[in-house]
Symmetry: C2
Subunit: 336 residues, 2 copies
């Protein structure tokens, strides 16, 4: 046995779900939202979150040790990061995705081994349900989910506003727009742009509320779209973020071809998500996101920039390039 | 919004269960055991582990990105650490605990929020079962579990063999001995010692097989013990590792008092586990282990060295001290 070979990294990864799950429960319980008004004692927190005495102190001190809370003179407080990103009352709230993972996805990942053995999704679909049907059937739940998506994509939106040559284009359409987080950032940053947010009809009022709250209703319009049955709306730039990975290869290629058809000559197609590095060695998040597509969809998978460029060229795009955006997300750009 | 305050640490922790679960599935599937004989291609691995084509490449490349596999010229291979610690055929195998987490504990942790709200265990007990009854009812499953415990405690055993003044004592008893990993290390390192491994009767043959395989049957004997109904066996040193945290406060104190009663004057009581730092700020693993006791037991919890010293002094021990052992584990020593 070599002295230098320790099991530490293995054990840290294997037990890693304990800390992860502890944070998810804290977000689900609204702990950071309660603490946004100021530090609270253990007893106050227990009363507000309706926690039993048993384990509540361990729960809070574990969050201190994990760097998610501070504790001073017996009172617990948010850190600057948890205060900014995990308080439901702030527009910077990122907890929607974590709440969703706490309520459903963590449980479904328990069946990863079965997923790998069967190739079948391990979510509501196992019992005859469908993720998107379930999501879209309850407008309140849908708005919560779409709001979570906005929070998660803000960093990416700001990066795309900076890194793409918007001055060369006048209009864009965001396919699967959700609440409209990206169009709002692009329109605020580039005053000459007009945009269309395209999604299923149920998303319309949610998009329009969000856009109006930023005073952008004159430049950003909603278009209802079933992208399997209809052509995509026309614009100088077509954007698809976190869409292609939901689908199998032939559907991916169909969507890329539809984007090509809807663009003018010289128009650009921007695809972005947690694009896997071409060597498939370093973007662990992108590779794990692809396993998440196994859990959540019937044929979806994530892919490398080279994969995406290949599909674009096959569809007729004359030029492609990739660029990192923010965190695990990159974009692949195809020019017609 | 301060530039320096990023959501990266929050997101990394929140999504952390994806990588953790991926490793657990790999161990459960026996991936590292298959690769211990040499590198294999994707197709070979799929055939041997009975994996679907969908997602199997993402699964393996995710393990590469997580540092658990190497990939060269299209073949996958163990790293030095996964080869040493995650190959079932090696005596250094540590995967038993990870297999157990893959098969049951990950799923139970999905109910952490309910546990915090009810104070009740979230394992088999929820449906009328009992962890220890379930474990001890199937001798094969029990041997697997006890073997997992041995693997996990080897580092601690070597540290205790070095850091405790064994030359001053002649005999020890290990309460809740399991397979006997600790007694074997102590007896191998200190030839003058004799030891007793005490546990429920069903453990006897498993202990005796393991001890005989190390040729130590003359110096290490098994004693059947129900520590709630019987006094502890007498010895110069009494050891309790990963026992006290399973129980509520009054049972903890009862066990400490029983240790006191069974020791001669000058004898030592060694308690070890993932003892929480007295400030309850830095040993995240110990605090999370305490939440694991919520999931797994009706009243168990982990504790600080100061807590344990307090119970020892209350029971009559005249002197106590704490010392770090290995990884997250420390020992508290009480002298009678």
């Amino acid at each position: 046995m070599t002295q230098a070979v320790t099991p530490d990294a293995i054990m840290q990864l294997g037990f890693g779900y304990w800390g992860s799950r502890t944070l998810l429960s804290a977000v689900e319980l609204g702990l950071f939202t309660e603490l946004a008004n100021g530090p609270l004692s253990l007893d106050d927190i227990r009363a507000r979150l309706n926690l039993q005495k048993r384990s509540s102190r361990d729960f809070l001190d574990a969050l201190v040790a994990l760097g998610m809370l501070k504790r001073e003179q017996g009172s617990y407080a948010n850190t600057p990061a948890t205060d900014l990103y995990l308080d439901r009352a702030k527009p910077t709230y990122l907890g929607g995705m974590l709440e969703m993972m706490s309520a459903r996805l963590f449980r479904f990942w328990a069946d990863l081994t079965e997923g790998l053995r069967t190739g079948q999704p391990q979510n509501e679909a196992k019992h005859g349900g469908d993720l998107f049907d379930t999501l879209y059937s309850d407008p309140h739940r849908l708005e919560q989910f779409l709001s979570a998506m906005t929070g998660l994509s803000l960093g990416v939106a700001h990066a795309m506003a900076e890194k793409f040559p918007w001055s060369q284009y006048k209009s864009f359409v965001d396919i699967g727009v959700a609440q409209g987080g990206l169009p709002v950032v692009l329109a605020e940053k580039h005053k000459h742009l007009t945009g269309i947010g395209a999604d299923l009809p149920v998303v319309g009022p949610i998009f329009e509320r969000y856009v109006a709250s930023h005073g952008l209703q004159d430049r950003l319009k909603f278009a209802k779209l079933d992208f399997f049955r209809e052509p995509l709306p026309r614009a100088d730039v077509i954007i698809m973020g976190h869409i292609l990975h939901d689908w199998d290869l032939s559907t991916k290629k169909l969507l890329v071809a539809k984007a090509y058809d809807a663009l003018p000559a010289g128009g650009s197609f921007i695809v972005f998500e947690a694009i896997i590095d071409d060597e498939r060695r370093s973007n662990a998040f992108g590779l794990l996101m692809s396993l998440n597509m196994l859990i959540e969809t019937r044929g979806g998978f994530d892919y490398t920039g080279a994969d995406c460029s290949g599909w674009m060229r096959e569809a007729g795009f004359r030029e492609t390039r990739g660029e990192h955006l923010s965190g695990p997300d990159s974009m692949v750009i195809g020019v017609k």
